[in-house]
């Protein structure tokens, strides 16, 4: 009986609780548990608004969670991330200074008459570091393969300051402004043939110098002029080498006297667009201090003409560069006592040489494939001092064909007729792949 009573109570309790709860709900809702149409619509609108906001938060949270798209640290809450614009990666990564690596890499094959054919390669990074909008440091290193391993050479390392719109000051090691080929065209992704011209490269003109310079450009009526003047350590006069006496050693980075070389170049953009003429010079006392050669003076002069123009008539671009240079060293007697075994030696110490190059690229023809080809023709030569020691005069004629894979990436082929005076020819076939970046 007791058991039946407990079973009855167990079933009765939920029913009692149900009625109690129903009574409680009725007491809190004066409308009898029903909502009006107006209230229903308001609640519906509120629910839709909440749903929309939730979706928006979820979307922002998903974007913020992606690491590549969000360089900022996680914010305190989703609402804060929505309120604040996300800075770009570039803004956060670079800070106030700007850095860039440019330069080029190349690989060349050369098969020359009377020489062993070979491959070679080099990597030439240029580091550009802009500390402020006016202050720039730039440096190029050449890494190339030599017989003993990797050769490292500092091509330039210079700090420049933009004084105003027309004047720039620079100090350090820089490419010789008096030699326009070295300053503008020597990089192999710019130079259209696989090798560089005689005389202006590894020849009778300076390439890199240590000193200070002032340079810039300015309008000159309808024309525009540009200039660069410098003071540098200057060249060294070679006096004790029987095969090079009287020549100038341009890699005179540790100066051999207190005299400093002075040089520069002035260029003028002529009224015909794309045409520039320039004149470069340098004078120095290259002899060792305290020797009979200390007062010997050297001079160099260089003239250049550059023309680049898209030409509708020829359906392409014409590119013409020419440069010719003369060097002269005052009269001197080398090995005057004959102690070095090649003197006394005296001669007219004058050298000259240069090049002319013309290139044509059919950039305006209808066939896309042809637009990437460029044909090049170059003449270059070098005359050494008559009666002097050293290398013999040389003249070359070169034809080349480039295929431009990109604006600064090219495959080059060239054949060179090389005629050292009084010697068998050293004609050469050259192939090169180069990539500028």
């Amino acid at each position: 009986m007791k058991k039946i009573f407990h079973h009855f109570i167990a079933h009765l309790m939920p029913v009692l609780v149900f009625f109690v709860l129903c009574g409680s709900v009725d007491a809190q809702d004066p409308d009898g548990g029903y909502v009006s149409r107006k209230e229903y619509e308001e609640l519906k609108q509120q629910m839709l608004a909440l749903k929309k906001e939730l979706e928006s938060i979820k979307k922002e949270k998903t974007v913020a969670a992606q690491p590549a798209a969000s360089p900022v640290p996680p914010a305190a809450g989703p609402s804060k991330q929505i309120a604040e614009p996300i800075p770009s990666l570039e803004d956060l990564a670079l800070g106030t200074t700007k850095f860039h690596i440019a330069g080029y890499a190349e690989s060349t094959f050369e098969a020359q008459n009377r020489s062993i054919s070979s491959f070679e390669a080099s990597f030439n990074p240029i580091f550009l570091w802009e500390l402020t909008p006016k202050l720039l440091f730039e440096s190029q290193i050449e890494l190339s393969l030599g017989e003993g391993g990797t050769d490292v050479e500092l091509e330039f390392a210079q700090m420049t300051y933009l004084l105003n719109d027309y004047i720039t000051l620079g100090v350090g090691e820089f490419l010789a402004p008096s030699n326009v080929f070295v300053e503008r065209f020597q990089a192999l992704w710019i130079n259209k043939l696989p090798d560089r011209p005689l005389a202006v490269y590894d020849g009778i003109l300076p390439e890199k110098i240590v000193g200070a310079e002032i340079r810039g450009g300015f309008p000159l009526g309808p024309l525009r002029a540009n200039y660069a003047f410098y003071v540098s350590n200057g060249p060294k006069l070679i006096t004790d080498d029987p095969s090079a006496a009287g020549m100038l050693d341009w890699d005179n980075f540790a100066d051999n006297n207190d005299d400093k070389a002075v040089g520069g170049r002035v260029g003028l953009f002529l009224p015909v667009a794309g045409l520039e003429a320039g004149y470069g010079f340098e004078t120095a006392k290259p002899g060792d201090q305290g020797t009979p050669f200390a007062h010997v003076r050297s001079w160099l002069h260089s003239v250049d003409l550059n023309f680049t123009r898209d030409c509708d008539f020829l359906k392409g671009r014409i590119d013409l560069h020419a440069q010719y240079a003369w060097t002269r060293v005052d009269h001197a007697v080398f090995d005057p006592t004959g102690a070095l075994g090649f003197g006394p030696l005296s001669f007219s110490n004058k050298r000259d040489g240069g090049y002319a190059q013309i290139a044509y690229r059919p950039t305006k023809v209808d066939v896309d494939f042809l637009k990437n080809f460029e044909a090049i023709f170059r003449w270059d030569h070098l005359n050494h001092a008559p009666g002097g020691p050293g290398a013999i005069d040389e003249e070359r004629w070169t034809i080349g064909l480039d295929y431009w894979v990109g604006p600064s990436t090219a495959l080059k082929l060239a054949y060179e007729w090389d005629n050292p005076h009084g010697q068998p020819n050293t004609n050469a076939f050259l192939a090169q792949a180069v990539m500028g970046f």
């Binding site: 802009e130 730039e138 450009g217």
Partner: protein, 105 residues
């Protein structure tokens, strides 16, 4: 030696004549080139050339031009700064070129 040179002179003369022909043709056609008024744009510089004209003229003088999209804005700032020093362009031209490159992306 001289006979070899004599044979090669026509090879030298031919491309030179080719260039001169194109040069003369373009020189005669020069007035067709548009020169913008001085106050047309803030991106103009010396000789009233636009940033695009200055970019083409100054860069193509030595090498192929690279598309504006190739580098970021910060990289163009450094590159054009470097080229201003190397090519002796004026500050006004530098600003016009940078402005053009950044707006062309």
């Amino acid at each position: 030696m001289s006979s070899k040179l004599n044979r090669r002179y026509p090879a030298l003369i031919a491309p030179v004549l080719f260039a001169i022909a194109g040069f003369c043709w373009e020189a005669l056609a020069e007035p067709k080139r548009s020169i913008k008024p001085e106050n047309e744009s803030s991106g103009t510089a010396d000789m009233q050339l636009s940033g695009e004209e200055l970019w083409t003229m100054n860069c193509q003088r030595c090498h192929n031009i690279r598309p504006p999209t190739m580098y970021s804005n910060a990289q163009w700032d450094v590159i054009v700064h470097h080229m201003r020093v190397r090519a002796n362009i004026t500050g006004q031209e530098q600003r016009a070129i940078v402005e053009f490159l950044k707006s062309s992306k």
